[in-house]
């Protein structure tokens, strides 16, 4: 199962097969450097000129292919579908990067040409591999950047919807629960191609608009408070005596002390009335006594005087609730009495008999919300009520549509309310319409009247892209003011805004939304763990795991640490349950706090329980999943899909299922040649993490045997245990060649671009990737610099006009 890679399946293939090369920092980059030696650029690896590329093609590539490959890999039906002879330019090689990288890999490992053919010399192989790497890398040359790429029309993701209504209106709305789940494309839920709009989604949008508007602007039609009546069959507690000929209604009998009631949903905070229709069997010296209760609170205590259980009386008491939600209301019987008969007659038995309950309310009109108060203050100087209303509607539309409405828009919104509507009623209806409008739900970028070509985004469009990228929420007033003055496209202004926005707490949303999807820790909320084997893996622990990784990501972002610190940071965040899980002492309380890791062997996110857990089965580890996660998620180097005939069983492969130990299964993978070409790369990486169990706990033995956490890569490099593995992974792109192999830094950049642009990356976007990478310090690449470089790229600040509408 290959996660769709941001550069499309083609490049995805390439990178995987180059892992060997890069991890071993083998010939590819060295060769390239030799060829680059004339360049004077200070960037880690300079890009070749067109001339150099053409020359290399003729002097290195073509002779090698003619001599060693073309007899099989050319013509109309080349061996393995791989035609090496036809590419006539470096660009053509780069377009087929998957196959080319695969070919180079085979050659470098000595698998090609086949044994029956003469072997090329080591120098020849180096030169060939070096040239192909150079050609592939040239696709990333920032000098080729400038095209903003494909346009997409994005809809607000559920998270963005919730953040927006909270930030603008102060309303907490659980969009995640209320709307259908967002589809995910290229790993993220804000990718336009994966977002569809179904009937169900629209239905929910319309409902949500009304619900949110009612929470934001308090107004209710004056009138009698609603009354809800509940008969005995709807209540719980006591026992039900169903109606009969002698008893025309259903009754609930409390024949011992206890409650009879129900959980009721109340629409909002406020005062309510609880009314009980009750009767009693009287016995003993006291009258039957009833309390009315809301949860454990006693609202009132009453003597029930009636003598016939069919002749109920009513008692009532008021209660208040602080917020909308579900509340338990009940009538309680508190003085049960029973005496068996002494002479064979009827026993003396006092019971409470409940006919039904009623809840009336809310009794008060709702008070103004904070938003209403704020709007009233803001526009208190307006001359008339009508002007105040207009200004309020205009403000709401501007904030929610991320652009000022026209005068006629406002007039239309005001006219939606019935004639002689009250002030707040008009505002509430206008807000409902603003929230139901496609201008709120979609992030519209329009080009009417513009000429064909590439244009800069206007200030409002840029403000919107910026705020949803960094905050997952709507632009604030400062951004909108700069947009109004058309200053946001100024480089300095833009850079200052990025500073400000990253410092703002809302940028925590970037860590939460981006990192949780990129690193797949979001999966934890749904991950099943075998609680028999791992009784400590409670939802609390899983939540703490996810928080840990996001907090470390956020720290690396905010402290402008090197991206590589993600892999070997010597601090982390824990709370009591996670600390216990890690064996860190002295941590109490459920809040997450920063702790140093000195004295422990845990370092970086690869040893976070979150990642070790999501890459495991419920009841065992999965070295294959872990290896794949490292390659695909972390290093942006997905493997080629299994060849025809093989299938992506992972370590669920039936052939290996019966094998006793992981090692034995691993050996079986290698025996099957069709599997080995990938598992040679995957399995060792996963085995490096075998000292962590299926929920990331430390272990020394598995199945009674000592854990063997060593691994050997196909190129012969070996490591033992997680620490050496992490070093290998971290340093895969150490020399700054992050263009054509497994690279943590390129992986982050590509994923950030997908997230920022809301679309998968095409080959045409590689120069943009290159442009962002070229602005990073190879010795200290930071998320902060990557974000800035993305924001200043053409892909982010410009768009290709779509004028085909008329």
């Amino acid at each position: 199962m290959v996660r769709i890679h941001s550069l499309g399946s083609t490049s995805a293939l390439a990178a995987g097969s180059l892992l060997v090369a890069a991890i071993a920092s083998a010939a590819a980059s060295t060769g390239a450097r030799t060829q680059d030696s004339g360049g004077s650029a200070p960037s880690p690896l300079a890009f070749p000129s067109d001339e150099e590329l053409t020359q290399g093609l003729e002097s290195v590539y073509r002779p090698f292919v003619e001599t060693h490959c073309a007899s099989c890999h050319s013509g109309s039906s080349p061996e393995a579908g791989l035609d090496l002879a036809s590419p006539r330019s470096a660009a053509a090689l780069a377009d087929r990067d998957v196959l080319m990288a695969h070919a180079v890999d085979r050659v470098r490992l000595g698998q090609m040409p086949p044994d029956s053919q003469p072997r090329p010399s080591a120098e020849e192989v180096d030169a060939f591999a070096g040239y192909v790497a150079l050609a592939l890398r040239s696709a990333y040359d920032p000098a080729r950047a400038g095209d903003p790429g494909r346009n997409v029309l994005r809809r607000l993701s559920n998270t963005e919807y919730a953040n927006t209504v909270f930030d603008v209106l102060g309303v907490r709305f659980d969009a995640e629960e209320f709307f259908p789940a967002d589809n995910v494309g290229h790993g993220f839920d804000n990718v336009a191609d994966a977002q569809t709009l179904s009937d169900l989604q629209l239905e929910r949008y319309l409902d949500a608009a009304a619900t949110v508007a009612e929470s934001a602007i308090a107004w209710e039609l004056p009138g009698d408070p609603p009354v809800r009546t509940f008969v005995a069959t709807e209540l719980e507690g006591g026992h039900l005596r169903a109606r009969s000929n002698r008893q025309p209604t259903d009754l609930r009998i409390l024949d011992s002390n206890g409650e009879c009631g129900l959980t009721i949903e109340l629409p909002r905070a406020g005062r309510y009335l609880l009314r009980a229709r009750v009767a009693a069997n009287q016995a003993g010296s006291e009258l039957a006594r009833m309390e009315l209760r809301r949860d454990s609170q006693i609202l009132g205590s009453f003597d029930v005087v009636t003598k016939s259980i069919l002749d109920p009386e009513e008692h009532e008491a008021e209660f208040t609730v602080p917020e909308a939600g579900r509340w338990w209301v009940a009538a309680a019987f508190t003085n049960d009495f029973f005496e068996p008969s002494v002479d064979g007659g009827r026993p003396l038995d006092r019971n409470l008999v409940v006919h039904g309950l009623e809840v009336v309310g809310p009794l008060d009109p709702p008070g103004p919300t904070e938003l209403q108060t704020a709007l009233a203050d803001r526009f208190s100087a307006e001359r008339s009520e009508k002007k105040r209303l207009e200004s309020s509607v205009e403000w709401l539309a501007t904030r929610l549509w991320r652009r000022p409405p026209t005068g006629s828009d406002v007039a239309k919104l005001m006219k939606l309310a019935p004639r002689r509507a009250e002030y707040d009623q008009t505002l509430q209806i206008a807000l409902t319409a603003i929230l139901a409008s496609p201008r709120f739900l979609l992030r519209v970028e329009e080009d009417p009247g513009r000429s064909e070509g590439i244009r800069r985004l206007d200030g409002y469009e840029l403000a919107t892209r910026l705020s949803y990228f960094l905050w997952s929420s709507a632009p604030d007033e400062e951004l909108l003011a700069l947009a109004a003055d058309d200053r946001l496209q100024d480089d300095d202004v833009l850079a200052n805004q990025v500073d400000r926005m990253l410092e703002d707490p809302r940028s925590g949303n970037l860590a939460r939304n981006f990192a949780s999807q990129w690193l797949q820790t979001r999966q934890l909320a749904k991950h099943s763990v075998d609680l028999e084997l791992h009784p400590d893996a409670t939802p609390d622990l899983l939540r703490a795991m996810e928080r840990e990784t996001l907090l470390v990501f956020e720290a690396v972002l905010r402290e402008k640490r090197s991206i590589r610190d993600l892999l070997d940071s010597d601090f982390t965040f824990v709370n009591d349950v996670l600390a216990k899980h890690y064996g860190i002492r002295g941590i109490e309380g459920s809040y997450m706090r920063r702790v140093p890791l000195s004295g422990t062997s845990r370092r970086g996110i690869l040893m976070h329980a979150s990642i070790l857990t999501v890459t495991s089965q419920p009841n065992r580890t999965s070295p294959v999943k872990r290896g794949r996660w490292i390659l695909e998620t972390l290093l942006a180097s997905p493997l080629p899909p299994p060849p025809p005939g093989a299938d992506s069983f992972g370590d669920d492969d039936p052939a290996t299922f019966d094998a006793k130990t992981m090692r034995e299964r691993f050996a079986l993978h290698r025996e099957r040649a069709v599997c080995a070409s990938c598992h040679d790369r995957l399995d060792p990486l996963g085995f490096g993490l075998e000292r962590f169990d299926a929920v990331g706990g430390k272990r020394t033995t598995v199945g009674g045997q000592r854990v063997d956490a060593s691994g050997v890569m196909p190129d012969g490099r070996s490591f033992d245990g997680e620490v050496e593995l992490v070093a290998l992974v971290r340093d895969a792109d150490k020399d700054g060649d992050w263009y054509s192999g497994p690279s943590l830094v390129r992986g982050v950049v590509e994923n950030l671009l997908v997230y920022a642009l809301g679309r998968g990356l095409d080959p045409a976007d590689r120069p943009t990737v290159g442009a962002v990478l070229s602005r990073l310090d190879p010795a200290h690449p930071t998320l902060d610099d990557a974000i800035r470089a993305i924001v200043s790229s053409a892909a982010f600040r410009e768009r290709r006009t779509d004028t085909a509408s008329r």
Binding site: R3, S9, N183, T196, T263, T432, D652, G760, S805
Partner: protein
Amino acid sequence: MTNRTNLARTSRMLGRPLERRTLLRGLGATLALPLLDAMQPSLLRPGAAPSVPSRLVYVYVPNGVNQDAWWPSREGRNYKPSRTLAALGDLKDKTLVLRGLTHDKARANGDGPGDHARAASTWLTGVQILKGGATVRAAQSADQIVAAEVGGETRFRSLEIGCERGQSNGECDSGYACAYNFHVSWKGDAQPLPQENDPRMLFERIFGDAQSAASASVAAERRERRKSVLDYVGDEIRKLRRDLGAGDRHKIDQFADALREFERKLEFSEGDALVLPDGTQKPTGIPGVFSDHVRLLFEVLALALRADQTRVATFMYAREVSSRTFPEIGVPDAHHALSHHGGNAGTLLKLEKIDALHMQLFGEFLARLDSYEEGSDSVLDHSMIVYGSCISDGDKHNHENLPTLVAGGGELAKDRIKLDRYADVGNETPMNELHIALMKRMGIKLDAFGDADRELSI
């Protein structure tokens, strides 16, 4: 009243009582009335409609099934139910087990791995889906063809229900877009339909928010408000469609379609005016235990079918490649991992337990439908319900001999399909022939569907 349905009582009869917190008692006076004959569907619909409607429901099981336990040993009328089929309960005379149905288009056919993605999305669409990044392309599924053609007679053209909420990140199948694993219902080539997962929200969608207890004047104000907001949104969409480039139009068109559909629904009487069986309880959320979750969703679906709120539905127990565990029946392992059983006896036994649970829950659903009187027989008798998977053996990822069970009554018996037997329709018989046969019984005549050009003949 013998046919009164008390969901609480029924649930207890079915085994463990439901967790209390998953049911909300007290739907308010409107719904507390005793069951009336007003439940007769014809009274709930404006205009003329057939007195007894036909219905079509598909229930999907992911990851294939344990073959040995699933298939009966002998064909014909007097077949002995297999171990898995025995869990269905006493409904043999209203079901038909089919062997031989195949989805060739779920096979690789040159597209390489990705059998799970192809399974879910080919099951009802019958086409070879596109492998390519985040882009999806399948086809309108059988249920949606019916929904589009005849669904307009009910308030909901169709309902899509599932127990597993959409994905939380991009873990998918072998280069296929993630959406494929999660959807069997496709409204169009590129429009998979999301599912309701929460029994409470499903209930409220169909039967209204019965808790609101709004007065008549409040309800009137809301209706008026909704109408003006809808008109406004319609105008906005038209304006935007005019101003947007061609590349973005299809998204606006989806918006416009959905709005029209919403307006169509408003022409029907509101769900909160329906009278539900006495004792009906509104679910309060998603239960923690899988079988409770399924039961509640099936219960709400059964009520919706009975009240003729829809005649078409799909139900997914889980997405393809689901890693659900089933600790409540002693299976703490992930379903997908188990499905690659490699012939291991212990693993196969666990799979059999999962299959039996799925079958038992399905049987409870059928029994419920069969308990609802309709005309002179039951709701089940006027339904066609297909249950199955589009992977046969999870270990082989194969798409022939798909485990398929058809339940229902009179509708099926029309023409040739006879119930109460286990029939081998012949190897490599296109599954799409079954779709053609069932669509025909819903009033849609297709000469061809996917790789089939005739209806299933058995």
